[in-house]
Amino acid sequence: MTQTSDRYSNRTYRRLKALKRIGLYAGVTLVLIYMLFPYYWAIISSTKTRESLYSFSLVPSLDFSNYISLFNNPIFMGAIVNSAIIAISSSVLSLVISLLAAYALGRLHFKLSRIILICVLMISVFPQVVVLSGMFEVIGWLGFYNRPAALIFSYLLLILPFTTWVLTSFIRDLPVELEEAALIDGCSRMRILTHVLLPLMGPAIASTGLLAFILAWNEFLFALTFILTDENRTVPVAIGLLTGSSRYEYPFGQIMAASVTVTLPLLILVLIFQRKIVAGLTSGAVKG
């Protein structure tokens, strides 16, 4: 016998359900506001004139003078190009290297693979500051100082552990029989990687590649340390070093405009790849 005496009426349950729904949406709205407000504030501020900056208003005033002066700033425009080159090449390079490493670590069973994987994980927990001075020396020896190569090289250190780790676990999840079939079909290890595994790794490549790109695009500390002159700067540092008409003026509007501008490419990339990213992040959990 089911107990029916201590239950509410159907109408009460219906109201409760509606109430829960309202509560849920209220919660979601709060979180969204909390997360999106800083970016919204940046957008508003970037469209304000110097005078109106200090008056509080949540409505954008649609004055694009900040953007115009920003786009006329050759240092900033050069920095965008630098950032693009460095971010793209370091993420592509790290994908290629980590894919090869991941195949070796994930599939070719050799004695050291476990130790290597643990080392890789350990490297990724070091704070950047720890490696900064050592990296500075290495870059000096290689003659990369004040060159884009310095940043590409040092970003590999930041990106590789994480891409290798993600791709290794992804490769481990692919069925072994697929690879055995390819071996019997006469494929070399390289051909297995390029013709059998790589086409199946689209989601993983997209998500790790994008995260690597974001990491390289936003990096500040190495970019500040290893680059000396304005024409080689990347965007985060260039924004930090933007100057106004006099040295006592902080060009807040322009900085906001610059921040909005450099976030746009990331937003566009995320929107393009969002489905693949989600697929890549969940693919380890559920087998297809």
Binding site: E180, A181, A182, L183, D185, C187
Partner: protein
């Protein structure tokens, strides 16, 4: 077409010995089935022959040539996987021709071979589809097509039907038998399903704990199992076993109640277990001469056959199979089980089958 010879093939993963000194010769054109419980090493043995798993010790010969260290792709073999292992991102045509493409064969010849294989397996209408869009049976056909197209001298199947439902399994079993009859290539087939083993094999290899228990035709293995494991493994329901002991003073062999056996002196190997297949038993009235006594437990009617369970003691229940209905007895009713000497199997301490006539001399069943 090729024979296969294994000489003392062993494989260990760390301290775990998966295969222990396997010796086996497979004739050209034979259909061999490896069968055994899970974890017996049958798949590993197949992979060792394929070259997917390097052997720890011993040698593998295919077509009389030593191939122990030859890579899988150069052994002239084809492998059909349990999961089919079709490339998910390629269509059926490309799946089948990928090996030829890898070998840089001329496009015209690839197309010609593809067409022939597709016709043979009746998958011509599926060539543009992706594996995801195929049913289990179709995927199986494509996997076989992929194996056929490289014209191997040896086919290896790793539980190819275990992912299919019962109907389809029967159909594909028939197809594989037909394929073997048509092309006559040597085939090695791994399964845990004894029906597949009994129906497909020219010879069955029964494996257990990384060793070969017995090799022989299905009939030989069923009628003359070498040991208790083989006797218990083949047959469904499995053979009934019961402990026996020899009374040294009288020379009588005592088993479950009612079972007494006159022996003509003790041989070198004492039987400790007896075996009787479910179909060798019949339910008779309790107290019938030379019958084993027990109590009736339950009957199952499968339509085409009938199974009954009879309890001999607290921890021993025997199965009886018959084409005739076995109901009509109440639960707990005392019954007898009739049997004949020709159906009796005896096993010694080591589990080896003891020949009833040879070990015991002429045997007469007597009333105790």
């Amino acid at each position: 077409m090729a024979s296969v010879t294994l000489k003392e093939v062993s494989k260990s993963f760390g301290a775990f010995d998966v295969l222990q000194s396997i010796d086996l010769t497979i004739e050209d054109g034979e259909f061999i089935v490896f069968v055994g419980p899970s974890g017996c090493g049958k798949s590993t043995l197949l992979r060792a022959i394929a070259g997917l798993v390097p052997v720890s010790k011993g040698d593998v010969f295919i077509g009389g040539e030593q191939v122990t260290d030859v890579p899988a792709s150069k052994r002239g073999i084809a492998f059909v996987f349990q999961s089919y292992a079709l490339y998910p991102h390629m269509n059926v045509a490309r799946n089948i021709s990928f090996a030829l493409e890898t070998a840089r064969m001329a496009k015209a010849e690839i197309r010609q071979r593809l067409t022939r294989v597709a016709d043979m397996l009746k998958i011509g209408h599926l060539l543009d589809r992706r594996p995801k869009q195929l049913s289990g049976g179709q995927r199986q056909r494509v996997a076989i097509g992929r194996a056929l197209v490289s014209q191997p001298q040896l086919f290896l199947f790793d539980e190819p039907l275990s992912n299919l439902d019962a109907d389809l399994r029967m159909e594909m079993r028939f197809e594989i038998a037909k394929l073997h009859a048509e092309i006559g290539t040597t085939m090695i087939y791994v399964t845990h399903d004894q029906t597949e083993a009994m129906t497909l094999a020219d010879r069955i290899v029964i494996l257990n704990h990384g060793r070969i228990e017995q090799v022989g035709t299905p009939r030989e293995l069923y009628d003359r199992p070498a040991n208790r494991f083989v006797a218990g493994f083949l047959g469904s329901p499995r053979m009934n076993f019961a402990p026996v002991h020899t009374d040294t003073s009288s020379g009588l062999l005592h088993g479950p109640s009612g079972f007494v056996f006159a022996t003509s002196g003790t041989g070198s190997s004492q039987p400790v277990t007896l075996g009787l297949r479910p179909e060798a038993l019949e339910i008779v009235e309790a107290g019938t001469a030379q019958s084993i006594s027990g109590t009736f437990e339950r009957a199952e009617d499968l339509g085409y056959e009938h199974i009954a369970y009879v309890r001999l003691s607290d921890d021993l229940v025997w199965t009886i199979r018959s084409t005739e209905p076995l109901s009509g007895h109440a639960r707990g009713q005392a019954v007898g089980l009739g049997w004949q000497i020709k159906d009796l199997y005896l096993f010694n301490e080591a589990g080896i089958r003891v020949d009833v006539e040879a070990a015991r001399g002429p045997v007469v069943a007597v009333q105790s």
